[in-house]
């Protein structure tokens, strides 16, 4: 059997992460209710990205995950960003 080392994430850590996520959610809802033009989109997406980071790092245990899986995550996210950039370069400068 192939056993894997496990890092048990404490209840306390998970609880704190939830608090952070809820706080960020409140901030997004309040900030986007103001009309800041294009900044609304940027702020909402940055906050969403931070929330995503917390979910992946702590809830999905990437913090203590094997290096191969972490590298994969970075590759997939880079691919995602690249496709977005290429598409928008096309639309913006067509």
């Amino acid at each position: 059997m192939n056993t894997i080392e496990t890092h048990v994430t404490s209840y306390k850590t998970l609880g704190y992460v939830l608090l952070v996520l809820l706080l960020l959610t409140t901030i997004t809802i309040n900030v986007t209710s103001y009309n800041l033009m294009a900044w609304n989109v940027a702020i909402a997406l940055i906050i969403a990205a931070v929330k995503g980071y917390f979910v992946m790092t702590y809830f999905m245990h990437l913090k203590n995950e094997n290096r191969v899986i972490r590298a994969f995550v970075i590759v997939v996210l880079s691919l995602f960003i690249t496709i977005f950039l290429i598409t928008f370069i096309d639309y913006l400068y067509r």
Partner: protein, 205 residues
């Protein structure tokens, strides 16, 4: 992991199981990435109509569902922690709360979609087809993306329910809990997707 199950279990490879789950998660991320790309391009082409469309969505229900999903994501992670600490009862309780949250989410979605359906707004309806192009695209994407997400909620709920039954039966235990771990990973993915869907559809107005 403790080596308790070494002599009793069939040969298995937990690391491979987890790796397989991650690979599947990547395909899911790319599936939604494609949809987010479509959303962004049309939003860029029809900024005003997308803005008006977003104003018609129910922010209260959207926010409530965000909170419900975030809580459920924590409880399922805690359930795994409880399992790793061999606290079966706590693991079951937390898993039950997670499944309950999934049901609350779906119920809210039912109310939200139901209200839109009552207004005559649903894919293929006469009202929908009469909408302006940008508006039509917004609502088509809204129904498709939140619908696909809701389907993921249902699948996640089924997987977690199976884990729940297996823990009760004792076939899922501290020496063998990969199903719970992978089910939890899937549930976090569902949460992760909602984290992006929520501001894009409900908030950016």
């Amino acid at each position: 992991m403790e080596e308790k199950s070494l002599h009793t279990e069939e040969p298995r490879d937990d690391y491979a199981a987890k790796m397989g789950m991650w690979l599947f998660i990547f395909t899911e991320i790319l599936l939604f990435a494609g949809l987010f790309l479509v959303y962004s391009v049309f939003r860029f082409k029809y900024p005003v109509l997308f803005h008006q469309g977003a104003l018609e969505l129910n922010v209260t229900i959207g926010s409530l569902n965000t909170v419900v999903l975030l809580i459920s994501s924590m409880t399922v992670a805690m359930s795994l922690t409880a399992m790793q600490k061999n606290n079966k009862k706590l693991a079951l309780t937390l898993l039950f709360i997670t499944i309950l949250c999934a049901l609350i989410f779906l119920f809210n979605k039912y109310i939200e979609w139901g209200a839109k359906f009552n207004e005559g707004l649903y894919p293929g309806s006469e009202l929908m087809l009469k909408l302006e192009r940008g508006h039509l695209l917004f609502f088509s994407l809204y129904f498709f993306m939140t619908g696909l997400h809701a389907l993921h909620i249902i699948i996640g709920m089924v997987i977690l329910s199976i884990a729940f039954i297996k823990i009760r039966k004792g076939t899922l235990h501290i020496g063998k809990y990969m199903l719970l771990e992978n089910g939890a990973l899937y549930w976090h993915l569902v949460d992760l997707i909602w984290i992006f869907l929520f501001p894009l559809f409900y908030l950016i107005t």
